[in-house]
């Protein structure tokens, strides 16, 4: 059981494990169907396009476009209280899937929707690394 000041951790299950293993190795990945090539996130027990179970976690470029952002002024978990206000971004990866993440190193006034962003990796502990994004242009 986490202490009340901990941030929520990812729920790692057989489907999502590959994503978090890759993140720990500094690689961003999306689930890819080995039969039809569909790329999607979050992971799914079958391919949403062709229903195949033959899927893997394929590394992607880590590059994408900032589609939107929101700045939280309320802590829904105590673990985020010290971070307030904090930024969450919506990224459209160049490979297609959408990803929610955090945008590092910018203030809201500087954010331009449509900006190019790239993944960075923040090690939380030895088990868990969180992919985040920064503006790349």
């Amino acid at each position: 059981m986490q202490g009340t000041t901990a941030k929520p951790r990812p729920r790692i299950d057989p489907v999502s494990r590959g994503f978090w293993d890759n993140a720990r190795a500094g690689k961003l990945s999306v689930q890819m169907c080995q039969d039809c090539g569909d790329k999607h996130f979050p992971g799914s027990p079958v391919c949403p396009k062709c229903l195949s179970e033959n899927q893997s976690w394929a590394p992607v470029s880590g590059k994408g476009t900032l589609l939107s952002w929101v700045r939280f002024h309320r802590a829904y978990w105590d673990g985020f209280r010290d971070d307030l206000p904090y930024l969450v971004c919506l990224v459209g990866l160049d490979e297609g899937p959408l990803l929610m993440s955090n945008l590092a190193g910018v203030e809201p006034e500087q954010i331009r929707i449509g900006a190019r962003v790239e993944a960075i990796f923040e090690s939380i502990d030895e088990e868990f690394t969180l992919p985040k994004f920064r503006v790349s242009d």
Binding site: S68, H73, Y76, M100, I113
Partner: protein
Amino acid sequence: MNAFHKLKDRVAIVGVGNTAYGNFPEIDDFGLGARAFRNAVEDCGIGKDQIDGLLVCRVPSYARMGEILGLNPRWTVQMPPHGRMSGMAIIEAAAALDAGLCDYAALIYANIGRSRRVNYGGDESPGVWDPWGFTSPGASHALMFQRHSALYGTTTRQLAEVSVAFRHHACLNPSAVMKQPITIDDHEAARPITEPLRLLDYCLINDGAVCIIMTTKERARDLKKRPVMISGIGAREAYSTASIPNFSLNFWYDEMRDVAAQAYGMAGVGPADVDALMCYDNFSPTVLFSLEGLGFCEQGEAGSFVEGGALKLGGRLPTNTDGGHLSNSYMQGWALNIEAVRQLRGECEGRQVKDAEVVQYCGATPCSRSIIYTAG
């Protein structure tokens, strides 16, 4: 023409009832549901034992609800406690009544979220984005509004028009929770929650219940009040980004265009014929998205459409005349549907839309729905 268009004017709402809205820790969902049911039965003058269809939403147990009300129906449906269910429920009941699966259906919704301190985020609704701190339906609406602003120049002062208009209506509605008028400047100065959204963009959380009684057109004629007909319905889901709850990258525009084509096509009316709109408003941005999707304006133009009090009584499109979720009561669409009925019956007194003949309900959500009501 869609096959379901044959449902046009086949089924009516004949009774509506609600409880007071507020903070009621001494009563549970069943107790509130029973009060609303009693009021709806009284409203239509039916014998309660004639009711042979039961739909419950956000009520924890259909069987216990039936036991409490002394009902043993031949049609039962339980809907999950999601906001988007009201339109879905009314459409399902209409189809069941038309098919003869029941003769009189009671639809009961109850919410005790205020007194039980429901949060709508964090550990109450775990999701894949929790490690990044992304949670709550309001945050999804903040993401959408931010993107709408970037694409179309929509401003928070325009967004404020929604909250200001609905609060104005709440001040005319004796049963509304919120009674203090607000201004655009009040909206701009409110506490930010999920920026760019502020407190006054958020719906209330309060306790209460609503009941709707429906039957077929033929049976409706024998009841106490003038029936309100279901003249048009439309439906389209958007599940492909369901892991971001309550979110659509394109503001449910394509889905609402589809919903509008279905509902207007069935009812034989268009946006210009709508005397009042009852628009699902868990957060103010979805009202702008709904106006665009239904075709009251072009995509990207809802900000200018709502300027100058357009949504107020007397404006070009009176919307949420009860005050909506933002200022009347968070009955998750259910109170909006009974407001539509009361407008068409002419029962709204100080907030009555004069000569209302066509009233439309809509909800732009992952399960978008619209219902066009006309006076029977």
